[in-house]
Symmetry: C2
Subunit: 367 residues, 2 copies
């Protein structure tokens, strides 16, 4: 198994290195004061320190269900399983489908690839364009496996956003073949224009919709979830219970308390979108100035700019970059094979304006 | 897979029911004030809300390593992997050994049995007596599998404590056959007489020693760990990273902050032992008065009284008990097969003196 390059980097880089590698939110935007206030209430009740139920505390599942209901996607708390980040939701789903075949995007999220490998799922990668997966290829491959893992909104690593047409095509194919999609949606709230309608909302019984508070509130709390039909959720709860009994209760109570004020959360999301859009614009402008040869498409949301340095082996280059105290994730990390790849994923949410300039200049100097 | 009866019960019983079922600590003994103070410091630093490393934050791993060092069991932070309760540590180890054979105690912890099943480990149960596993049987079975799962201190469900002689025999056999033991030790600090020396400390490279804050501080924080040799820990980290990236960061920082005052934690453990010993004495006295036919051995620590009601099908009885608003875990839950079993596990740490009396009377009335 490929160890996550990103997490290896997280463990080894020094303070001098400017990192565009991790999918890290901006710490300055964590609502730590409001979360702190919420925690003070939580810590007054001894019951919050006890074991709780495996599917997650009921009031938080109600609130998550209502995120969906507010968008017209009918959801009950019994459709929700709370997990340790959406990463764990994906692990549990992969365990549920172990030894099966699965269609994935190419490139795809490395954390998902490792999960599928570990659960012995045989993966078939399908070309991903900036407007979503290649539909002809999708329609050819899907019928034989009836299971696909997609990140339709601001994909990791590519930043791509599926077009409405492609979403509709996928819905049609899934229903025709009575299969499933796993729709991973950690970045869906980080849109710069408008929120896309989830594919899952049109196929509520044939989908796993994964959400997370890691990109919107705080990754450290480790709370994500999966929305699926009730029968499947029951099966997933058994797996969840076996793995770790339940996710951190304190985190769940804190989030529940924080989310009692809906306006506060809404305003926080608006701020996040505003700030991340600015960060993206700055990154893209600097990128064009410092690395004009980098070919990419401007993202419409999320946390990443993805593109290529024609003809450059970006994995070989990253070790040079590390010596010059700058780091990114080479595209090769997001493909199954070991082929040479000239692509790069940059994260733009974590670094400051100065770091972006200096980091990209350091990179320019080794090209 | 058997769904955990205990967790099903947790989800379904009403407020009127007196439960001796769950392995629940006494909420009144959670040090919520001190944990609250620790959390206030933690919530002031935005860095605590960011992603962290998969093996767990370094200062907490240092403190856990020092628990071992203080007892003469040489341990580095690199020997520790922090997990979501020790339940998850066990899941990760089982994943590491998947498809192998494993020796287990009979009866054994149902959560472990489910983990082994899920990872396709073939289990051979060996008779467990109140002074530990049957050594003749152990020595016959172990050489062919070289892997055993044991709970030497105040076992769940049996409450048994391994004798020193039995510990020595196991150490000899493990070393002779160059195998491993998984030593699950969530109750080790809850001794009423003196702390037993872990088996692992004599075979540091051939053991997985599992610890947890769930029984000593709070289960809701979901922090446990495994101590093993460094090479194995590296392999386990990859599995951990794939499952959920890392365990709740906020919980780790709170525990780390709380544990900065060593005396406070030491005093808390002393209080816990004192209170649980009293609870045990009261439970045992009431048990003898209300159910004199119940055959058991008085526990020397931990959370459970285990014994038998000669000739009574305790699984059939539990449904009657539920109607009368009292519940326990029938012994059958801790065996692999579906045979009729006349044993019962009572938890004595969670209920009050009054509840113990009323609950056991309700039980007496249906016998």
């Amino acid at each position: 198994m490929k160890r996550s390059f990103i997490r290896q980097i997280l463990e080894s880089i020094d303070n001098e290195t400017i990192s565009f590698a991790g999918g890290l939110p901006d710490e300055n935007l964590f609502p730590i004061e409001d979360l702190g206030k919420a925690s003070q209430k939580v810590f007054k009740n001894k019951k919050h320190f006890q074991y709780t139920i495996s599917n997650g505390i009921t009031p938080l599942r109600e609130k998550i269900a209502n995120f969906y209901n507010d968008e017209g996607f009918k959801t009950e708390p019994s459709n929700i399983l709370i997990t340790t980040g959406s990463q764990q939701a994906l692990f549990i789903i992969a365990k549920y489908f172990q030894n099966k075949e699965i269609l994935i995007e190419k490139p795809s999220y490395l954390g998902a690839v490792n999960i599928f490998r570990m659960n012995n799922l045989s993966m078939t990668p399908i070309t991903l364009d900036y407007d979503g997966i290649n539909i002809e290829e999708f329609n050819t491959v899907y019928p034989s496996m009836k299971l696909a893992y997609l990140i339709p909104d601001f994909q990791n690593p590519k930043g791509s956003l599926y077009s409405e047409t492609k979403r509709d095509e996928i819905i049609k194919t899934v229903l025709e073949h009575k299969g499933y999609i796993i729709e991973d949606a950690p970045y869906s709230e980080l849109y710069f224009e408008q929120k896309a309608k989830s594919i899952s909302s049109d196929i509520p019984n044939n989908s796993f919709h994964l959400g997370s508070f890691s990109k919107t509130l705080s990754p450290s709390l480790r709370i994500g979830w999966v929305r699926a039909n009730e029968e499947i959720i029951s099966a997933l709860i058994q797996i969840k219970e076996t793995i770790d009994l339940h996710s951190c209760g304190i985190s769940q109570y804190i989030l529940d308390e924080y989310l009692n004020d809906k306006t506060k959360y809404k305003k926080h999301l608006e701020l996040l979108r505003y700030e991340y859009k600015n960060k993206m614009e700055n990154f893209v402008t600097t990128l064009k100035a410092e690395l004009p040869q980098f070919e990419f498409e401007k993202p419409k949301g999320g946390m990443f700019v993805y593109g290529k340095l024609q003809g450059v082996d970006t994995k070989a280059l990253v070790y040079e970059a590390l010596k010059k105290k700058v780091v990114y994730v080479p595209g090769a990390e997001f493909y199954l094979g070991d082929e040479v790849c000239d692509e790069i994923r940059f994260n733009y949410t974590h670094s400051t304006k100065d770091e972006v300039k200096v980091g990209l200049q350091r990179l320019r100097n080794i090209l």
